[in-house]
Symmetry: C2
Subunit: 429 residues, 2 copies
């Protein structure tokens, strides 16, 4: 018999069906037993009567989280959680679980979840909870929406390499790999590769792929490996073109989420914008300590998010006009004020989720800016050579999708938005 998903049972009342899933719960009421079965689409109650002896005896031995197939009759039952249930006629065991589960799948009555470390040790069981599965459904839909935007706007997709011969831009916090008889390094960002695509005339590209950060961070928003989303586009007038593109892309993601039935609000446009100077002014009265007057820290971001939400009702805010001290040498400078860069951050619910900029595409100015930053020209020579044989003006962004999902779903840590998170201490499972 063809399998029916739990979500489709409501259309099958009075019919005989086959369902497959995990045994989420077992309740025993003497002459009657209730099973809650969980598949990827939801939960359903199955009832097992003593009169169905073979099935009834089988359920006596059944362990929680075993995987079974039930054939039975879908019946109206106003006391059942869904308003209907399945009367089990045959049960087939597909996989038996050990009786003792290392962590519970059903959240404790206390409402308190098992400690994160233990949960992550058994991540494949932790992820069985419907509310965890929902995180990855949200990611799938969000990415689908963003990709629709790219597809409808002539983007090319590229995959960029992880292996680099030298440690990339910052030089610090890069993982080293034993690469045959020499060393390689893992890319911290596809930044330079994306720019090569612009120099190659690809015009509009996007990249979804891993980036690696050897930061010994123990915060709720850092991991050593995460999926980055980057796009880069040519023939822009300024970073404001990138910001508009960023807005449209996010709207496409939220629209798809909403269309798929996930309860999100689509942010209105244009998103609020503030210069870094205005941000500093706005939060000055809070007395947050930050010795850098050209940058904002995590606490300042949080307060900025709170204030913008109060004042405008918006969850997003672009911070623009970043001083050159806060930005890498390849960010283009304002023509009118050479101390400022044509760059931005996008803050979502008080967390930076995007950094973007127009890049400097003129090799002689790039050289000058590298020298200004006190960099060794020899070290950036190869990078600068990408711009010596013609390159359109261009810019782009680096986005942290897991941070967006974390904030969107109000998760306590970015690790909850990652299938198998990796941090300083964690390399398993």
């Amino acid at each position: 018999m063809q399998r029916t998903y739990v979500k489709d049972l409501k259309n099958k009342i009075g019919e005989q069906v086959s369902i497959k899933g995990f045994v989420h719960a077992i309740r025993d009421q003497g002459g009657i037993k209730f099973l809650i079965i969980r598949d990827v689409t939801g939960l359903i109650q199955a009832v097992v009567l003593k009169s169905e002896k073979a099935v009834f005896d089988f359920v006596k031995e059944l362990t929680l989280e075993s995987v079974i197939e039930i054939e039975g009759l879908v019946k109206d039952q106003k006391n059942a959680p869904n308003g209907f249930e399945i009367l089990a006629l045959t049960i087939n065991l597909l996989s038996k679980s050990e009786a003792q589960l290392p962590i519970p799948v059903v959240t404790e009555k206390s409402g308190e979840e098992t400690d994160q470390t233990i949960r992550f040790d058994y991540r494949w069981i932790d992820l069985r909870k419907p509310e965890k599965l929902a995180i990855f459904k949200a990611w799938t839909e969000f990415e689908k929406g963003i990709r629709k935007y790219f597809d409808n706007n002539n983007y090319l997709q590229i995959y960029t390499p992880s292996f680099m011969s030298t440690s990339s831009e910052s030089g610090a916090e890069v993982f080293e790999v034993k690469y045959f008889d020499r060393k390689a390094y893992l890319a911290q960002s596809p930044q330079f590769y994306k720019q090569m695509a612009m120099a190659a005339g690809f015009e509009k590209i996007f990249v979804w792929g891993p980036v690696y950060r050897a930061e010994p961070s123990y915060t709720t928003r850092h991991v050593t490996e995460f999926t980055g989303l980057d796009f880069e586009i040519s023939y822009i007038e300024s970073h404001h073109d990138i910001m508009s593109e960023m807005e449209r892309m996010l709207i496409a993601g939220f629209t798809q989420l909403k269309a798929s039935g996930i309860a999100v609000e689509i942010p209105f446009t244009p998103f609020p914008q503030m210069t870094l100077k205005e941000v500093k002014e706005k939060i000055k009265h809070l007395g947050i300590k930050n010795e850098k007057d050209y940058d904002i820290n995590a606490e300042e971001e949080r307060e900025l998010g709170r204030i913008v939400k109060e004042e405008t009702g918006h969850d997003f805010v672009f911070v623009i006009d970043w001083p050159i001290q806060a930005r890498p040498f390849y960010h283009m400078r304002h023509g009118k004020n050479m101390e400022l860069t044509k760059s931005f951050d996008l803050v979502y619910k008080g967390l930076e989720i995007v950094t973007g900029a127009q890049r400097e595409h003129r090799s002689e100015i790039l050289e000058k800016q590298a020298v200004d930053k006190g960099m060794d020209l020899e070290a950036v020579k190869e990078y600068i050579s990408f711009f010596k044989y013609g390159c359109p003006p261009h810019g782009g962004v680096g986005i942290g999708p897991a941070r967006i999902i974390m904030k969107m779903l109000d998760l306590p840590s970015i690790k909850e938005a990652i299938f198998l998170p990796r941090d300083v201490k964690r390399l398993t499972p």
Copy 2:
């Protein structure tokens, strides 16, 4: 003025337009100069008359591969390559190229391309050739089609980590990473992670992401880092369900390619199938040397592809019924013949592009099969634990998309299908 893409100029005859692109060619005929301009959509001839003095003088200094903006009039011109051209009225320099290009963008008259090593040293210039760009347009469309299939069939997308605490399945040919105060290894495949998703009840998932192979190979079909496409699905009856899914997924990719205007033939279904034994029988007369009677080598694959094409007209062939010696311990065995696994390879134009199988999901049988293979149970204990708390029957595939693109477009090497290839010798640019 709003920019017009070259491909859209045919609808603008008689109108004034702005185009942007690289200077692909310059021809000088005394009182008249011709430029060929290249953007991401195509090539167009621009004509510069001596009477337009400012523009004419500017073009005298213009270097090949500089990036310019031209405003001008689109005019019918039956002698022009497209049947029309642009009469340049103003030209604006966006980026000047050095006069001496390290490699030519226009393929030499001899038809011979610059040596691959030199081309790859200047990959961002190599990729300017329209025929190279076309490779990445094809990849983008192919992936788009495959993703449509996943989207329409309730798949979840997951990203799996690269960092592992131990060297994965084979143990050999794994890259080692300095990971804070210990060692990590780069995943050779998302295989175990995908299976964890099945144990978590995700039911149908796909993964696009990098895999790393520390093989010192110098062939046209090996690289040290490539993008893998993997899917895994639950509640299958056998590997034949996976093979059907594989067919449908590929058809979706080819259909999208064709719809986007790329000249490909959509393969017909069902794809031919042969057991490994039948393959060996079929190519026996060729006398290809292979000491393994339970496996086929690259030459045998090539001949198999040729013969299947001749006999059936099909570019694809599934090879099934692989002996256990050729397969890892976690492939499920045939009930009827325990010496054979429920696994397959898919060969496309004589090259293996996919390996798939039903996995063994019963922990006690997995343990037995690991012992049979002479493995240390301690080393696979963590893996086997994924199956101890309930896991649906499942299977899936690992696909090499770059191999598919290589064969589809008849490229001489897999490296041509990769934006920035990495091999034993190459870590740049």
